[in-house]
Symmetry: C2
Subunit: 209 residues, 2 copies
DNA sequence: TAGATTGTTAATCGATTAACAATC
DNA sequence: TAGATTGTTAATCGATTAACAATC
């Protein structure tokens, strides 16, 4: 299968948001130019992006556009269900809880199995049908459930020591929400959610106006 | 001043992270090839990006590289976090609270003044010295404090109606954390924090290995 | 039919990489 | 000096936009 670039993946997720919105409004179809206008891109680019997908209903219809359900499912298939991943959230603070409630994840093949925290008051509680376990239970559950990914939402001052523990527990992929540069062995992948970087990006964009 | 593209801005924020790390380790200098390797880009591209900056010390030195402090400050100046921005957080759920606690923001010129919610149980509480107000108080506080930016963390089903209210209240910049594409007038800027898009980049990266 | 919309090719634009003289 | 590194130009690559025949 042809490799889809980061830029296209990004736009596909945005089309998906638009489609969810249209479905809520009981719309049946959507045109490339409508989505193009909402995202500020060219309409032929939208059609080109859609050409990467496998539309169950065949093709878009002239004078009508695309079936919103068909398009939504095609995006989910292309992006999300190729290799679904199980993950644990480590850190049941506000950010961890917010992400645990973020139902959208499962549409894209990310299954949050459970949360972990070192605070005994949180252990045993449930968030969105996911249980909070004590962090000491993590190695055991990694073995039992075979999850390899962690969404890391602990305070930054504990991030590195937590990561060392995760690495020792055979976690391979870390989606890091702490504003910290983590040190990990070569066989472990870290993806930094650089919120400040994203803000500065916005900040620069609006200051130029 | 020449407009700097999104891609370059993005890399500049990443160089900035690397520099903070190097300064912590008491390094004096950094070469383009070191940063290039850390970010997986070409070293000539790093040098080209740096050419957009205004280095106080003039230029990089052959055989030595760039002064880390000089480079860090030049990036900060170019990205403009000299001119701090005031913002409100709208939505005092888990994500809003998490961001209110995110002290790092103020280091980068983002001052969160207060939070807003429509839940009366939350009104009057304090988070990190910031008060939670009822959403109906927002127009008044916008006028009094002159804030123009909102960090939007309401559930996606309420995002659009909240945005309509914010627009009517003269908010100009919206940093949107809901997985929704918002409709706004031309004079309002939205920056989507597309978490799913970010996750899918990670997902693609690791599934290609 | 007339007109709106798709799918796709060709043209354009911008970003990345290669190369290398200048520098210290 | 010899060698490492910068700054910058030219070449390459990829992404976006324009254009338009085909369709319903």
């Amino acid at each position: 299968m042809q490799k889809i670039s980061d830029k296209i993946i990004n736009r596909l997720t945005l089309y998906h948001c638009i489609l969810i919105d249209l479905i809520k409004k009981n719309e049946q179809n959507v045109t490339s130019s409508l989505m193009a206008e909402l995202l500020g891109v060219d309409d032929s680019q939208v059609r080109k992006d859609i050409a990467f997908l496998n539309l169950a209903g065949g093709k878009g219809k002239s004078r009508v556009g695309y079936d919103v359900f068909d398009l939504k499912i095609a995006i989910e298939k292309t992006l999300g269900f190729q290799s679904p991943k199980d993950a644990f959230i480590v850190g049941a603070g506000n950010l961890g809880l917010a992400l645990a409630k973020y139902d959208n994840f499962s549409n894209y093949g990310l299954n949050v199995l459970a949360l972990f925290d070192n605070n005994n008051k949180k252990v045993g509680t449930n968030v969105n049908d996911k249980e909070v376990f004590h962090i000491s239970k993590l190695p055991n559950l990694v073995r039992r459930l075979g999850a390899e990914m962690v969404i890391l939402t602990v305070p930054s001052e504990y991030a590195q020591e937590t990561v060392d523990f995760l690495v020792a527990s055979k976690i391979k992929y870390i989606w890091n929400f702490s504003p910290t540069v983590l040190k990990v062995p070569k066989n472990v992948e870290v993806w930094n959610e650089n919120l400040m970087g994203n803000f500065l990006h916005f900040s620069y964009k609006i200051s130029g106006e």
